[in-house]
């Protein structure tokens, strides 16, 4: 029984050792660096919470291959971004461009912040006004003094 288990473990670990081989990087590290910097700013469309740089999906592999080719062809970062946007839309960019369709996206949070601040200010101002300004009369002052003295005596 022990022997079979031992053999099984040996076979299994052998399988693991063979199974994973690192995918080859592009031959030149400069291309690879640019690929990473471009694709980190892009969304993988299959697994939307991952960047194109980090995704292991098939489509992401293909798109990285495509971007590598474009880099080798001497295309600028902007040209590569345009290539992607023409096919997949602004959605592929993690930082979509500022234009009428995306105004709400870019400015919306600040508008809500301003509304919040304005609401808070009006509320505070109104509350200030609602407290009546009372001037104390001499009689009031005497009453207060008496009360304060009384507590001082108790504590003292």
């Amino acid at each position: 029984m022990k022997k079979t288990l031992f053999i099984a473990i040996c076979l299994f670990s052998l399988g693991c050792a063979v199974a994973n081989e690192a995918a080859p990087l592009a031959d030149d590290p400069v291309t690879e660096q640019r690929l990473i910097s471009i694709s980190e700013e892009m969304r993988c469309l299959v697994c939307q919470n991952e960047s194109l740089a980090g995704s292991r999906s098939d489509l992401a592999n293909d798109l990285r291959r495509e971007i590598r080719i474009l880099i080798k062809e001497g295309k600028s970062d902007d040209q590569i971004r345009t290539f992607m946007v023409e096919r997949y839309g602004d959605f592929v960019l993690y930082r979509p461009p500022v234009k009428p369709v995306t105004w709400l996206l870019w400015i919306g949070p600040f508008v809500i912040l301003i509304i919040g601040i304005a609401g808070l200010l009006t509320y505070l101002r109104r509350r200030n006004n609602s407290v009546p300004n009372v001037t104390l009369t001499d009689a009031d002052n005497q009453k207060i003094d008496a009360m304060l003295n009384a507590t001082n005596k108790k504590e003292g």
Binding site: Q48, D62, R87, Y88, F91
Partner: protein, 176 residues
């Protein structure tokens, strides 16, 4: 004065409306930038005959449907009977784009489930798919007489989509 107490209620209703709309939308349906643009040109071999090629330019002058599919795609198998139905209607030729597939697998699937395609173009490495902005097969395009993409559907077609969107659009486009 009473209206003040309704403010939180109004905010809450607003939130519910936003969530009701937002949560019922499919985040995978990304609007395609290719609508109302010319269908990207390509020339690849045909699925059944590697010596023959297909190019969208050859479809100029007629309204046609491009359906991206693959034998490994489960949703495509689900969609297949609907495509057979679409082909039977003879409203427009259905051209397949066999995406990142093996020829023998693709042919086996067509032999088993029926072939709705007038022909299938073979996109073995997925390069054409990238030009069409494909990210989830099956995807279906309607392309007009001038070669402009007028409609795109992501995900499997259903009879409802055929009746409510595809057929009306085809008859509209064929008139012009």
């Amino acid at each position: 004065m009473k209206a003040k107490f309704l403010i939180p209620l109004a905010l809450f209703i607003g939130l519910v409306v936003f969530l009701a709309i937002g949560l019922n939308r499919d985040p995978h349906e990304v609007p395609s930038p290719l609508i109302n643009k010319a269908a990207p040109a390509f020339e690849v071999s045909q699925l059944t005959d590697a010596n023959k090629t297909f190019s969208p330019a050859s479809m100029k002058g007629q309204v046609w449907i491009l359906n991206v599919w693959a034998s490994w795609c489960v949703a495509c198998r689900e969609e297949h009977p609907v495509l057979v139905e679409l082909a039977k209607s003879q409203m427009a030729p259905v051209i397949g784009l066999d995406y990142k597939d093996k020829r023998e697998d693709a042919l086996a699937m067509l032999a088993k489930q029926g072939n709705p395609y007038a022909l299938s173009a073979f996109d073995g490495n997925g390069r054409v798919g990238i030009d069409y902005g494909d990210y989830g097969v099956p995807e279906t395009y309607i392309i007009d007489k001038a070669g402009v993409i007028r409609f795109k559907h992501i995900g499997p077609l259903t009879m409802d989509i055929l009746n409510q969107k595809i057929y009306p659009m085809l008859s509209e486009l064929k008139k012009s």
